[in-house]
Each structure stands twice: as structure tokens, then as C-alpha cells.
Symmetry: C2
Subunit: 319 residues, 2 copies
Amino acid sequence: MTSTTDIIQSIGKGSIRAIARALSKVENGSSDSTDILDKLFSRQQGFTIGITGPPGAGKSTLVNRMITRYRKTDNSVGVIAVDPSSPFTGGALLGDRIRMQSHASDPKVFIRSMGSRGHLGGLSGATRDASCVLSAAGYSPVIIETVGVGQAEVEVADLADITLLVLVPGLGDDVQSMKAGIMEIGDIIVLNKADRNGIEQLESYVKASLEYMPPGLKRPDVVRISAVNGDGLEDLWDAIDRLVAAQTVESRISHSAVTTLSEILKENGLLFFEKLLEIEYNGRKEAEELILAGQLSPYAIGKKLLERAERIFEHNGSK
Amino acid sequence: MTSTTDIIQSIGKGSIRAIARALSKVENGSSDSTDILDKLFSRQQGFTIGITGPPGAGKSTLVNRMITRYRKTDNSVGVIAVDPSSPFTGGALLGDRIRMQSHASDPKVFIRSMGSRGHLGGLSGATRDASCVLSAAGYSPVIIETVGVGQAEVEVADLADITLLVLVPGLGDDVQSMKAGIMEIGDIIVLNKADRNGIEQLESYVKASLEYMPPGLKRPDVVRISAVNGDGLEDLWDAIDRLVAAQTVESRISHSAVTTLSEILKENGLLFFEKLLEIEYNGRKEAEELILAGQLSPYAIGKKLLERAERIFEHNGSK
């Protein structure tokens, strides 16, 4: 099973080994990963749920509940647990991962930890491509779990068809930094650990924050749950189902087409300009030395490479 | 004063009008902005201080104090107040801006609000280029103030030679989302409003968080201040001076060369691939329609454009 065609065919037959193989290729940015993704892109049929929030918010417990829920309706469920590089959360994630293993023996649950390693598009690029593989392999939903509301997490959350921001009491109404998350992420804001003190305060803070959203933007639903004892989960499933029902395979592919195309242009643009830099200036190191020597600015280098690249239009005409 | 040479010359003579003109060109991505930046890049002599933290942390009061401090030693001080697009903070920033106007009549203080408007590199690209203009015009320090610890802020903070993360009591030790900031931003962590309840708790939380930093990374200094009544400011100035003294003009230009070159490659790469997309597929809209019609995947489009671009190597040889 080495050729792209073999891998695609085996994925079509549900081979776990072929899926794992494709994921590794995609994650490491292998030379044939583009062909694999090309074949799989239009086969995506399912939907993706992104889940983010601070460490300790109970995201993995919620993911576990969600797996159980979708397994009841015989869906195959994919989980991409995005490993942030921060050592802070490494420990917590590892523990969470083990908890999720209650589904580990279920062949219809595929759990994958994700790093950015060799992927040109970084963590969000790697996650996007992994999600494409799992979705094309028939997993629906594909659940993407990330930690935090920083740069990487917002990007990853943008990939999903439906995004949940999970918060817990104790953050207080002065947690200004959460506002970014509330504004930028979240079709549904999940208030977890609803049995804890401070849940009222958290809910009124969240709702007050939402008041400031620009008109025209859709306000997220706010749902209280306790992932541990199960309270409120039916409300959450209803909220998710409503969002899923409002989308179609076409609307999801359309969203994915727009964002994926954008990112691929960026990734390939950088790849090509790195090559140009190699040819014109023997690569980054020598270019940097020219800058330090005061001979060229980064702006002049950029301009020269762009002009060089644009010569292609003269040589190749319009087709 | 329309030619690039005129603008550069006038900036050299300290013309405020020329500086403002250059900043506008840079911010809007005018066609001649690259030439202006090219000429100015190697003239940067000063250092930049990035200041970030949640709204209400007292950043602008601190910036005011900092301006006063550097004006005493007759430095010209530039301030770039980065306007996040979030409507949340718009109000607060506006107020802060007015407070900073105590220095507005001082011709050696240049304050500029910054949006991302037409800039290819977004907010951080626009800020990077504005900082280049001010630094080359003789302002030192150039203070870059941003709000929050989200994606844009981390990027902007990365630009500065020295970065301060400003926190205030009341965030509590469960503000997990601040950890990203503590880890990713901050040569100096400033604990402002040190006269408030909770300062002890905040300091021990911050210090405990720092324990988890990977070995080899430099731990930030932690300094308590009260920007309003001036307590602790001497300690903060000392901490900044130590960091400034540990750098040289060369080390700063070197850092700037590396990050600026990276970003310019990305920006120009995207620009070029957008043009290729225009030629091959009549632009984004039509490409997206092909994807939705199931005729092509974004991956296939990316691959085709990359192959097309690489034909330049065949036609042009190695020089």
C-alpha cells in the first residue's frame, strides 16, 4: 500500500491502516500528500465540530460525552486533539487523552493527536488536512479539540463547521482576555461545571459581553452544562443539531473551499518565494547577512523576488 | 513633496509632515511604500518597546509615564497605538488616546493610531512598517501599544525589541488564558495597580506560571508598579535599561531583518499567487466555483499554480 491510488482505495474501504498512513503523510507534508488530499477533498461528507477553551474547562470530558452521543446513532466519530507546543498544557492533555480512551477499543472512533511538525501550514494547516482525511473516510462528526484562545486556536476554530467555546466559573467578569474568544470563536458558548459557584456571574458576564457584538453578526447560543454529571447536555445537543440542520454538505464544502484555497495560496506562495530566495541569494542565511551588512533591505529583497517572479507572465503569456 | 527621494530627504530633516505622509503610504500599502521602506530600513537606530495586556490594565497611563521619562533625557518618542478591530476596546482606546494628548503639543512626541486597512501584511505588517518609519526618523524609543493577548497582539509584540505584558490584580490565579501571554509575550511582566487588593495573589500566580517555562528560555522580570501614583516606576525603568543595554543596534537590526524578511516573503508570495490565480482561473471567485462544482480541489489548484510558477526556473536559468 504505497501508491496514492492504493491509499485512496483502502480509505474508501474503511481501512484504519490506510487512514493512519494518510494522516502521517499529511502531517509530515510528504510529497504525495497533495495528491491524496486532492482526491479526498470532494469526498468530505460529514461535519466538523471545533471545541476550544482554557485548560481545565472540561473540554475532554465533553468530547467523551459527544463521542458517546454520536456512537448511539452509529456515526463514526473522528477526534483530532491538537497539541499546542506549550509545555503548560502538555500534561493536562496527556491525561485527557487517556480519559478519552474509554472509546479506544471502539473501531468506529478514531482519535489522533496532532502536532505541526513538517507541515508548511503549521498547526492549523496540519489540522485542516487531517480533518479532510477523516471526513472523507466517513467520520462525522470530526471533533477538533484545541486548548486556549490564542493565535493557533482561533485559526483552528475557524476551520470547523461549528465551534464551541467552553468556559467555567471562576474566571470572573474581569477576564478581559476571554473577550477575544467570545468575539472571535464560538457558535455556541458552553458554560461547563454549571453546579459550581459563580455560574450566574459567568453567564451574566458572557451575555453582557455579547451585547457589544457588532450588529449583523450572529450571536452565539449560550448553554449551561455539567459535562461530568450530564446536566444540560440535551440542550447542547439540540443547539448543535439546529446548527447542523442549518448547513448543507454544499454550504460546508463552500466554506471549506474558501478558507482552504486562501491558505494553500499562502503556503505555496511562501514555498515558491523561499525557492526564489535560494536562487537569487543562496537562501535565507545569506540574504540576512546582506541585510546586516547594510547592502540590501528586506523590502528590496522582497521587491526583487516579486519582480523576478512576475517575469513568468512575460515568458508564458496568459496560458 | 511627492517623490520618494523628497520624502526620505524631508524625513531626514525631521519634517513631521513627511513622516506622516510616509506613515499613510505605508499603512495604505501605496505602490511607492516599498521604496520608502527600503531607504529607511538601514537608518533605524533606536529601539522599540511593545506594551500589551488586557483592556483596563493601565497601559496608556504607563505609556504616558514612559513618554515623560524619555523626554527628560531629550529622546524623541514615537507611539504607535494599535487599534484592534474589536468594537469592545474601541471606546477605551479612544479615551486613552485623549489622555496621552498631554504630550500632544510636544513636537518631539509623535503619536499615531494604527489600523490594518489596505496593508497586505495586516495589522502586524502595518505596525512593523510604521515602526520602521519612526525609528528611521530618529524616534527612540518607538512604543507600540496593543490590547489583549490574542493572535494579532502576539504578532505585534514579536516585533518589538523589548516587550512588556501589563497585568492587574483581579484576574485571579485561574485565568488560564493569560498563560499564553505570560509564555509568549513579555521580557518584563508589569504588575500594575500594586496598591490594589490581590496584588500578592497575582504575583505568586505569575511566578508559579513562570516555573513551567521550558528550560533555556529566558524568564521575564516581574515588576510591581502603580502607573497612576508612580510607585515602582524606577524599578521598571531599570529593568528596561538593563534589557536595552544588553542589545546593540546590530542585534536589533538582526532580529528585525529575520522577522521582516520572513513576513515579506509571505506577503509577496500571496500577492504573486493571487495574480497567478487570476491568470489561470480568472481569480478567486471562479476558482471557488470550480471547487464547488467538484471539478477541482483547492489542493489541485495550489499544485497547478506552484508548477506554473516553477516554470520560471526553466525559462530564466539560475540568474
